[in-house]
Symmetry: none
Subunit: 214 residues, 4 copies
DNA sequence: AATGAATGAGTTTTCATTCAT
DNA sequence: GATGAATGAAAACTCATTCAT
């Protein structure tokens, strides 16, 4: 009986703790479809199965909710990527491939892809959030990337020119895939696996034919 | 008197013809900063130096203005790219380089970069416009790209694997650059020329060191 | 054990009995600063050191609380004034002076001065309360005053014209002082003793110079 | 026809100029009955015969409207009083009587009496406005009063003690009358003329019987 | 054609009140 | 009795759109 009691209490407090997460999930869906200004908190509430006023028990304002959604979603994903960069022992190619796989699985294929979409669409109206995203997300991803490339150049796997490449360019196919799925998926569904293959093949070998001597 | 009249009409009608373009330019700036829902027609009017009601002499609604802005801006740019694809005689590499240069000069460096930004941010609320963009912009750009790649593969310049590549991936660095300038330029300005170099080097050679035999 | 129990019960019920008074004190402070509509029960609760819902254990509604605050505060003070009117034996001047002293000490100098302020500010929205206040407070104060004046006129101390005076006018400096302290105290603090002196001097002698024969 | 035209234009621009005044009149009535927080702009608009949004063409916010109402109403009235103080040649008694008459006619008998009511009820939430009222209204009225009293004392009409009186006390019957009419008029209508008589008699002669030698 | 005052539907936010714990 | 999370009605304020001038 004590066990049952404990279990109930746990389930109760778990629900309580999940409320903000439920709201943020609902909010992400609405924001990603309608943008910040186009989203009605009424709809967020309905989607979360609560009523309007309840949102204000957990978030100070619509702006606040928006910022929390972005921060809450992107950070865990980043930590996972960094863990891979640190832990794996292998060739630079393997690490890079593994990281790209994670990116396509976690960012492009889940609703986390809405986060970069929202930063693009709303970043200008949330300069504080854009600064956070630049500092805590972009900068960290670029650092990650630089680390792998340096390792590859050091052991002779990668061309030394890559040290001067802009990291945005290297990751850009993933961004394109995420944006495509957000906007044009209905007209032409994207095959994520095939896209990842393109990304890796392009990134590793480039267009030019080695045998070509014309 | 007829002459005078004609002259007046000409000067007058010239102003008349420019009015919609002035409005659309003002609208693009507002939409690109504030998004569709976040933009006030009042501000568009002020920026265009006219008054609120005048917009409705040329556009039926805010939605209509938004769609016209997107259509009006992106098409001329596409036609220019297609002309290059058709006219230039040279190696596939040269044509591709030249097209990328145009893209970075016309799309990334001017306010035309706001068009893809707006499609990403607002596409979901304008399915009709998204369908237009997919059909008239994306599809045509991909066709353009496929044509150059086929030419390069045919003459041995390019690796045959490139025929299976997703065109989005090949162009994605340009999208990244355009989005960067839209959102993060203030935190870390992008050197367009260096970025183009990265794009071309990455696209042509890839990461791997051809001498590497490890 | 019975003793312990009783003691506990006593202490407990004492707390219980004080609860409504604590709430009303907190409410008076909030109402007096923010008015009825501008006061949040949340703030009343916080000030009383309890939580929102608890107020509803003692008061049916915000309106009810407001009315109780006014009734609860003003009646004991009135009873005290009436006691003085009945008990004191002396000249009419002395009785009147003594009553005014009480008014300035009890009404103007304590937070009881917020009661007339609230009647002025909110009386229109509480017609039932205004009627109570008129009947149970104003009328009784005027009766009190009339009684002293009649005594003074009867024994020749006061001018007979005073029998026709409006009682509001005689007491009005006290109201002014109470309102001043409520609104303008921060800009120009009121010296209550000096004000009482003015009130009594004005009330007794008036402006005119007896010696003047111009 | 030109005349008609001009007349129309005049009537048109007159209406335009009156819009803010119409709104302020409607607002004063609502504010005076319901207080600041208790007033709905919807009701102000309805009373002014316009719609909600129109208020915002002339006033930035509800707060702004409230402050403008107070400022707009009280200043002309003050100027009138000051003019009397300066222009009239006569005994101090006559000037004072004349000023009091104006106060009862203009302040107590018209809806201008709502202004002091609102300052009492809402002054705490509008510290800026309270400071304005203290500085521009109260201070000027007290100066006015002091000037008359000094004149009366100088020529021997008034008792020199009056120089030390608090001006609030001298004017307080007028405040009481204004407040009475605002709150208790429905239970016991106030005879303004009789009240003014009381005020003047009290102010001039006081209570005490000069013949009394007890 | 151009204006900008007016409209009123729509959205965010607040807060009295309830009720399960 | 006490709590405080949840509710949803109500109100300030905005802004696309209209229309008399």
């Amino acid at each position: 009986m004590a066990g049952t009691n404990t279990s109930q209490e746990h389930s109760y407090s778990r629900r309580k703790d999940e409320r903000p997460a439920e709201i943020m999930n609902a909010a992400l869906e609405e924001f990603s479809t309608n943008g910040f200004a186009g989203t009605r908190l009424q709809d967020v509430a309905r989607r979360a199965g609560i009523c309007k006023g309840t949102i204000y028990l957990y978030f100070r304002s619509k702006e606040d909710l928006f910022e929390e959604v972005v921060r809450d979603r992107i950070l865990p994903y980043l930590e996972q990527l960094e863990a891979i960069g640190e832990n794996v022992e292998g060739s630079a190619r393997d690490i890079l491939r593994q990281q790209l796989k994670i990116i396509y699985q976690q960012l492009v294929s889940t609703d986390t892809r809405y986060i970069p979409k929202l930063m693009i669409g709303e970043g200008n109206r949330f300069p504080h959030l854009a600064e956070f995203y630049f500092r805590e997300v972009i900068t960290r991803m670029h650092k990650l990337l630089r680390s792998v490339i340096e390792r590859g150049v050091a052991n002779g796997e990668f061309r030394p020119e890559a040290l001067r490449w802009k990291p945005q360019a290297i990751l850009s196919p993933a961004l394109s895939a995420a944006m495509w799925r957000t906007v044009f998926e209905q007209f032409d569904p994207l095959d994520i696996d095939a896209f990842l293959d393109t990304h890796i093949d392009l990134l590793m070998h480039g267009l030019l034919n080695r045998e070509y001597t014309g």
